[in-house]
């Protein structure tokens, strides 16, 4: 066993089919999709075909509701800042949760600091769930936007978005969901969820990095975030990232194939991993909801050991994992998600996220289980607070 990649929530390997689809658009088909000549027209056609592919993956009625962005972060920024700036005359209150990705939290904080918005950060329960009743209660006359993620990137908890959508449907409040971790992993349908805006990112489901999309329901009043040329019906300027878009399209197509079957298979592998950890290691806690969780997410706190040294040791064994989100791995703060779930500081500190992917095998799971036990034993033996 050379290397086992169990960090698919951070990013996923590009599928060979995706790589193959991208290649002709890197070199031969290099035209600018906005050009009227043949070089432009051949790529324009492809871009519009991908728009349909993505619309289909998320159940959008009209491909025009799909706007390509540079990733999940930009889709979040576009949704939140675009709605806020366009609708601020109606009100300046936004509701979100305390376990959102920074790509949602930081735009909200920006609006608070630079534009005098009020933001309510809803609490979550110990499993990381937002209570829809809390959303209902937080609404004021000033509320213009609710943004709650579909699935959490750290602990994998899946939120009751459809229920919240039901609460909001007759209200004059836009509803956005960050579905970056969910799309490609579980079925996602913008109409079932009753959302007006949704963010997704290709590299989370075996597409390339640097490309994503924002679903914007027809009739939504929003201004662009990226200002410039008239691309994407004026909603997102900049020369279209054609190779990226083509890769997103192929990834969307692949993700849609037998989604439920793949979901079942990966859930089984996930449970094999969770059960194996519980059997092999004492004093571990599963973070996140036991059942309302992404099929590929395992997040455990292993008491008495620290996250970084755990990760480094696993890495030396060839196992790629994460402690909290990759984006915060350079930071020393314990994960805001775990803290919001009321997990004590020193337990949060020993959290380990193992996220499975399309290519994860049973052998890999078993190898990871064996090495993880070994590493935990080594670190616990060094731990001044472990007494066994």
């Amino acid at each position: 066993m050379e290397k086992v990649y169990l960090d698919n929530a951070a990013t996923t390997p590009v599928a060979p089919e995706v790589k193959e689809a991208i290649e002709p658009y890197l070199a031969e088909k290099f035209g600018n999709a906005s050009s009227v000549h043949s070089f432009g027209r051949e790529v324009r056609e492809k871009v519009e075909a991908v728009r349909e592919e993505v619309a289909e993956l998320i159940g959008a009625d009209d491909p025009e509701e799909v706007i390509f962005t540079s990733g999940g972060t930009e889709a979040d920024n576009l949704s939140i800042k675009g709605i806020a700036m366009e609708n601020r005359d109606k009100g300046q209150h936004i509701i979100t949760s305390s376990i959102e990705h920074h790509a949602v939290l930081h735009p909200c904080e920006y609006l608070e600091e630079y534009h005098d918005f009020d933001v309510t950060y809803l609490p979550v329960d110990e499993d990381g769930l937002v209570d829809p009743a809390d959303v209902a209660e937080a609404i004021t006359d000033e509320t213009i936007l609710v943004t709650i993620m579909l699935a959490n990137n750290e602990v994998g908890t899946i939120q009751p978005i459809a229920e919240i959508g039901e609460i909001l449907k007759d209200k004059d409040i836009y509803f956005h969901t960050d579905a970056v971790q969910a799309v490609g992993s579980i079925p996602v349908d913008v109409n079932e969820l009753q959302v007006d805006l949704l963010s997704l990112s290709a590299h989370k489901f075996n597409g390339p990095k640097g490309i994503g999309a924002c679903y914007i329901r027809k009739g939504t009043e929003i201004i662009p975030f990226m200002h410039g040329g008239a691309q994407e019906r004026g909603l997102r300027a900049s020369t279209e990232n054609v190779p990226g878009i083509v890769g997103l399209g192929k990834a969307a197509e692949l993700a849609a194939e037998n989604l439920e079957e793949k979901q079942k298979k990966i859930t089984e592998l996930r449970d094999r991993l969770i059960n194996g950890i519980k059997e092999n290691i004492d004093e571990v806690i599963l973070n996140g909801h036991p059942t309302k969780r992404l099929p590929n997410n395992v997040n455990v706190s292993i008491r008495y050991i620290e996250g970084e040294s755990l990760l480094l040791n696993l890495d030396l064994e060839g196992i790629a994992a994460s402690s909290g989100s990759a984006c915060t791995s350079g930071s020393l703060d314990p994960s805001h998600v775990l803290l919001a779930m009321d997990i004590p500081h020193e337990i949060a500190h020993g959290s380990l996220r193992l996220t499975l992917g399309k290519y994860t095998t049973e052998e890999e799971i078993d190898y990871a289980l064996e090495r993880l036990s070994k590493v935990v034993d080594k670190l616990r033996a060094m731990s001044p607070i472990y007494n066994k």
């Binding site: 008495y304 480094l312 314990p334 500081h345 020193e346 500190h349 731990s383």
Partner: protein
């Protein structure tokens, strides 16, 4: 991100463990990150003849502890007390900037153990610990 030297000490940390009948024991919590370090010393004629550590800490904490024990073993208490964080970091071929604070953990625990040996009450350490929940 870490130098080869750091990774060497991280993978094969020297002097890990406890000394049952230590002459001095120090324990500190790192105020920046919440990590914890315990250090045990045996002292003969003002010389540190044996030293061991345990840590609940990051890779840099483990490596700095390991090299610190190596650097002070056989040294007098005075010499040991003079060892600075930056000397430790240097001996490891450097630490990433955001990890410089980790080297405090080892130095503080050592100082604490020496103080404990000398019978000095250590207030400093407690101020370090105040925002740590363990």
């Amino acid at each position: 991100m870490y130098s080869d030297k750091v990774m060497d000490h991280f993978q094969n940390p020297r002097n890990v463990g406890e000394i049952e009948d230590a002459d001095g024991v120090g324990e500190v919590g790192n105020p920046t990150c919440g990590d914890i370090m315990k250090m045990y010393i045996t002292v003969e004629d003002d010389v540190i003849t044996d030293i061991k550590f345990k840590t609940f800490g990051c890779g840099a904490a483990i490596a700095t502890s390991s090299i610190t024990t190596e650097m002070v073993k056989g040294k007098t208490l005075d010499e040991a007390e003079e060892l600075t964080n930056s000397e430790v970091a240097e001996a490891l071929d450097g630490l990433p900037p955001e990890k410089m604070h980790c080297s405090n953990l080892a130095a503080d625990a050592l100082q604490n153990a020496i103080n404990n040996y000398k019978g000095i009450e250590d207030d400093d350490v407690c101020t370090h610990c105040e925002d740590i929940s363990h």
